[in-house]
């Protein structure tokens, strides 16, 4: 079984994204995808609503395949009531935070507290860039700060921070932080390095498809990594099932 816990609909090309996700799932026997919808880096409240309705629409179109993240901009005053509607009325399964604030900004606290109450995971974009770092783009240390502040939260550090050699050590001592290796540029042994530092039980499978890198990049990495069958299954779906057990 495969669960891809990191996929997107891009608002400007949403129908194409849906088709590509469906095709990949069909071709590679992906049983479930966790989807969030994105567009501008710093969305206003209307855009957040449009994007989450896009995700919700895909959930309804593909109820057996698609689970949704509620994407939030922590700067918005309506985040908590919006989150309640997304979880309680629309049946979304997790929260997505991108680059509107650092993930350890105090503005994020109420969102994490609500996530703890719902027992849902929070997928946090973390990406160190030698060039082009965004103003509020979270790093491993930001994720670690948040994890220490809320040890009962379930956090997923996306992209293994991009440069895993730099970004994983800050979260070694944060057992409530898992990582996905989507968008990790397919460096040969990133999965094995992540396993060495965190253990396979803290790695989940995500691809970041359909834009950016293709599904095949992450899929090739998990097939090639030196793992036992049990560890591979943990990463491909079992760890994700545990994180999302509420749903």
């Amino acid at each position: 079984m495969i669960i891809d816990m990191h996929t997107h609909l891009w608002e400007t090309d949403a129908e194409k994204c849906k088709t590509q996700i469906r095709n990949v799932c069909s071709q590679f026997n992906v049983s479930k995808v966790m989807v969030s919808s994105l567009n501008n880096l710093y969305p206003d409240e209307d855009e957040i609503d449009r994007l989450n309705r896009l995700t919700y629409g895909f959930m309804k179109e593909e109820p057996g395949l698609v689970r949704g993240y509620c994407y939030l901009n922590p700067r918005h005053g309506n985040s908590i009531p919006y989150l309640r509607r997304a979880i309680e009325d629309w049946g979304m399964s997790g929260i997505k935070l991108w680059v509107a604030t650092f993930c350890d900004d105090p503005l994020v606290n109420p969102i994490i507290e609500q996530a703890i109450e719902y027992k849902i995971p929070v997928l946090i974009h973390t990406f160190h860039k030698a060039v082009g770092q965004l103003e509020f783009e979270s790093l491993g240390q930001n994720a670690a700060n948040l994890a220490h502040r809320y040890p009962e939260s379930k956090l997923i550090m996306a992209h293994i921070g991009a440069n895993c050699l730099r970004e994983l050590r800050p979260v070694i001592d944060c057992p409530n932080v898992s990582v996905d290796f989507s968008g990790s540029i397919s460096r040969c042994d990133d999965v094995e390095y992540a396993k060495k530092l965190l253990g396979s039980h803290r790695i989940v499978f995500g691809s970041d498809m359909p834009s950016g890198l293709s599904f095949l990049v992450s899929y090739g990495q998990i097939l090639e990594a030196e793992l036992t069958d049990e560890e591979r299954d943990d990463i491909l779906y079992k760890n994700t099932l545990k994180l999302f057990e509420r749903s």
Binding site: S186, R187, C188, S214, L216, G220, Q221, E224
Partner: protein, 254 residues
């Protein structure tokens, strides 16, 4: 069909430990995926002030195997022609590889004229490396960005030398499609064709299947990720055969 990986690496990368950089590792991943031939460059040679020191090591490692040596030169160093002649005589090299990003020279540098002459003399192909590392992951040093424009311009100078562009993204290869498709001596390898979804189908809708050669950049990048892009693409079987085997055989024929 002899599946061929035209872009393999052995040696060390100064900024991270490579866990699978022995010839045994390379042979194992190739055998597991049905490959029996590879063209190998030394990562260590990029950073060695005397690259021939690392080339000697690579030669000793490859000796007796079915793998062929691609010889790294920094054309801004002295004795370029002499050094390549040494590579031909001592190491039976199959090609020459340059890294204008790491070695900080432009492809219109005067040294490229000497390089052209010696490549022509020995009938050796030239690998031009656009990148090894995603620029966002650089550590300590920042290689110069090698633009598509300068790579295309180089083909004007090197019309009588076979050229292989390596480390180019899908969109960059497509950006250079007119030169690649129309120049009989210009080819591109696929190790950095990583996205978006359907990138191989897109590449082959723009580029001739005669011009793509499979490369993995293993042991730096993941072999399987590169191979899946071709094996699972919705393209003709004939196109797959060309990319995985036949084009490499033609490229390296003397």
């Amino acid at each position: 069909m002899v599946k061929t990986d035209v872009n393999c690496f052995l040696g060390n990368w100064p900024f991270r430990r490579l866990r699978h950089n022995t010839l045994h590792d390379l042979q194992a991943v190739h055998a597991k995926n049905g490959f029996s031939l590879g063209y190998v460059a030394s990562l260590s040679s990029i950073f060695n002030n005397d690259p021939i020191e690392s080339e000697e090591e690579l030669y000793d490692i490859l000796k007796g195997s079915s793998y062929r040596q691609i010889y790294t030169v920094n054309p801004t160093l002295p004795a370029l022609s002499r050094n390549i002649a040494e590579g031909v005589e001592r190491f039976n090299i199959a090609g020459v590889r340059i890294y204008p990003g790491y070695h900080q020279f432009k492809l219109d540098d005067p040294c490229m004229r000497e390089l052209r002459a010696v490549l022509k003399k020995y009938n050796l192909p030239l690998y031009i490396t656009a990148k090894i590392e995603d620029e966002r992951l650089n550590y300590m040093i920042t290689p110069r960005t090698v633009s598509c424009e300068e790579m295309m311009a180089l083909t004007e100078l090197m019309q009588d030398v076979k050229i292989l562009f390596t480390g180019v993204m899908t969109y960059e290869a497509v950006q250079m499609k007119e030169v690649i498709n129309s120049s009989p001596n210009v080819f591109v390898e696929t190790s950095y064709f990583k996205g978006p979804t359907g990138c191989m189908e897109y590449a082959l809708s723009e580029l001739s299947a005669d011009k793509l050669l499979f490369g993995s950049a293993y042991a730096y990048l993941c072999f399987k990720s590169a191979l899946l892009q071709i094996e699972t693409a919705s393209i003709q079987e004939e196109q797959k055969r060309k990319v995985l085997a036949e084009n490499a055989a033609r490229f390296f024929v003397k």
